[in-house]
Amino acid sequence: MSEPLNKNSKQPGEEPRVKLPEAQPRGYFEGESMTRRHVFTVASQAIGGVAAAAVVLPVVGFAVAPLFSRGEERWEAVGPVEDFNAEDYKQVVFTEITGIGEAGKTTAYIRKGSPEYDEDPNEFIAVSTRCAHLGCPVRFVQAAQNFICPCHGGVYDFLGKRIGGPPVRPLDRFQTRVRNGQVELGPRYSVTNQLKAVRVRDPGEFTGGIWEYLYPPRPSTFPPPSN
């Protein structure tokens, strides 16, 4: 006589082919306080859970790791100090992101700091062309002395403060320093409407006030220059 496959079947109308003597009460054997079925159910589910976690947790960590890792700080020389003055912007192209070819290049407008705007005359101001609305490249229009975005009509004044259109904050800036007579550009940072430096934001995000909490700082970005 072979072992019946369906002796524990709960299907209605399905009779076990072989009746075994049943333990009383059902499922419990002598001296046991927990059915074996229950013990093995809990144990196998626990082991299965550990095995699943051993796979899932590293994989999830692998996928979210970039949120917590900050790249190396990059500085790139864009020209000798004499090239830049306080009255006008000079356009430079440099590589902001490596490894993606042409797509990693970006444009910045650089001028010398001017006492007229409460800036250190020995500093250099590098304004990013990334529009604070959705990230289109703005250009500086000499005749208007404004930065104008071609996509949705965002307009910024000479300092990069928003004066029209949908942008939500002034244009971003890049940290600058002088090494060996060359102006070098470093990490990007964002500014508030009062041009106070804050941690870099993506376009479309407000800066200053309560927005510093609604758009919390990301561990993947560099801290802003102190000012």
Binding site: I100, L134, P203, P216
Partner: protein, 371 residues
């Protein structure tokens, strides 16, 4: 009781029990040699199919899926879901073949796309299918969704299928977003930049979500690989799984009749004993229920429920419609426009909504009425 079919010798030994199994039934008078010759000569293919079928019940599942009863009035609008699924299959197939030529690297992606489009045999056609199919799939989904909405097919008991459908719509748009970047030309690059920036402008979680999408604070070389992996593996898998769930529910619950199909009331069968709350007994054709819902909606719901029960009964016992037969008979007699035998369960559902509706109400419509 369903047992695995035993082999031929055993089935002959106790033929009375397993004799109904067509897959292994053989005439006993045939000599063994001739039987073997027949077996190897003409029956081998059938036997393989029968061998698989007897172990998987594939034909039963196929019958339950493809030969289920559909409501009267089913029309071309009901094909939009299948059309969407066909486009998904086309996208899956062309996508697999496109990946044979595509290089998901920021410096080589565009070159590989131009190569496959301009130089590979039929490359432009295959890529064109994939590109235009993407738009077509979105269009078909919205048409399918509109059909479901305007025919009221999202109502009980099909709400979960609507929810699954909405998730499928979202996943399909995610496919559109991630696939748009892959050619890596100016348009796809800037579209992705903008999409990421919109994501990032959501308060609190937005910046982190955008960081996750592009694998860092800025668009980088990893972003393309990440979008490629999402487009190629993660989202299609989810979509395929959810399409399975979507179809399962369609088969289990059945489809709805169009709203303009009115269930004809059998002559002399107007019920007086069961009246919905708020309806005047004298004239329950005209008085609205709860001040807003017309009586016609009430009877429409009965038809839906009856059909849901019908589909359930079909799914449970795919072979026989005997249990519903005695319920059918009076309705068929009463309704002069009753359909012939092929449509019998349907005729019952259409012709006798009150009986079905009452039964369903008693049973809170859980589909056990007919079984």
């Amino acid at each position: 009781m369903k047992l695995l079919p035993s082999r031929k010798k055993q089935s002959e030994a106790d033929g009375s029990e397993n004799g109904t199994d067509e897959a292994v039934a053989k005439p006993k008078r045939t000599a063994q040699a001739k039987q073997l010759a027949t077996h190897h000569g003409t029956q081998a293919g059938i036997d393989v199919a029968g061998w698989v079928d007897s172990r998987t019940n594939a034909s039963g599942i196929f019958t339950a899926m493809m030969s289920r009863h559909v409501p009267k009035g089913t029309n071309w609008f009901y094909t939009l879901g299948s059309a969407t699924m066909f486009i998904f299959a086309m996208q899956a197939i062309t996508g697999v073949f496109l990946s044979m030529y595509y290089t998901p690297s920021a410096t080589q992606a565009y070159a590989s796309i131009t190569h496959m489009t301009n130089e590979v045999f039929m490359g432009e056609f295959v890529r064109g299918l994939h590109k235009w199919g993407a738009s077509l799939m979105i269009i078909l989904i919205f048409l399918h969704m509109a059909r479901t909405f305007f025919f009221g097919a999202y109502k009980y008991p099909r709400e979960l299928n609507w929810v699954i459908g909405v998730v499928l719509l979202i996943l399909t748009t995610v496919m559109g977003l991630t696939g748009y970047l892959l050619p890596f030309d100016q348009r796809s690059f800037w579209a992705t930049i903008v999409a990421n920036n919109i994501t990032a402008s959501g308060p609190i979680v937005g910046p982190y979500l955008a960081d996750f999408l592009r694998a860092g604070p800025d668009f980088s070389a990893t972003t393309l690989s990440r979008f490629y992996a999402l487009h190629m593996m993660v989202v299609p898998g989810l979509i395929a799984a959810l399409i399975g769930a979507h179809l399962f529910l369609v088969v289990k619950l059945g489809t709805t009749a169009p709203p303009w199909i009115r269930a004809p009331r059998p002559k002399g069968a107007r019920p007086t004993e069961v009246v919905p709350a708020g309806v005047a007994v004298e004239d329950n054709e005209e008085v609205p229920v709860n001040g807003a819902v017309a009586v016609s909606d009430e009877s429409g719901a009965s038809v839906e429920e009856a059909e849901a029960n019908e589909a359930e009964a079909e799914a449970v016992e795919a072979e026989t419609s005997e249990p519903t037969g005695d319920v059918v008979a009076p309705a068929e007699a009463a309704d002069e426009s009753a359909a012939p035998e092929a449509d019998v369960p349907q005729a019952e559902a259409d012709a006798d909504p009150d009986a079905q509706g009452d039964a369903a109400t008693d049973d809170s419509g859980d589909g056990e009425v007919n079984s």
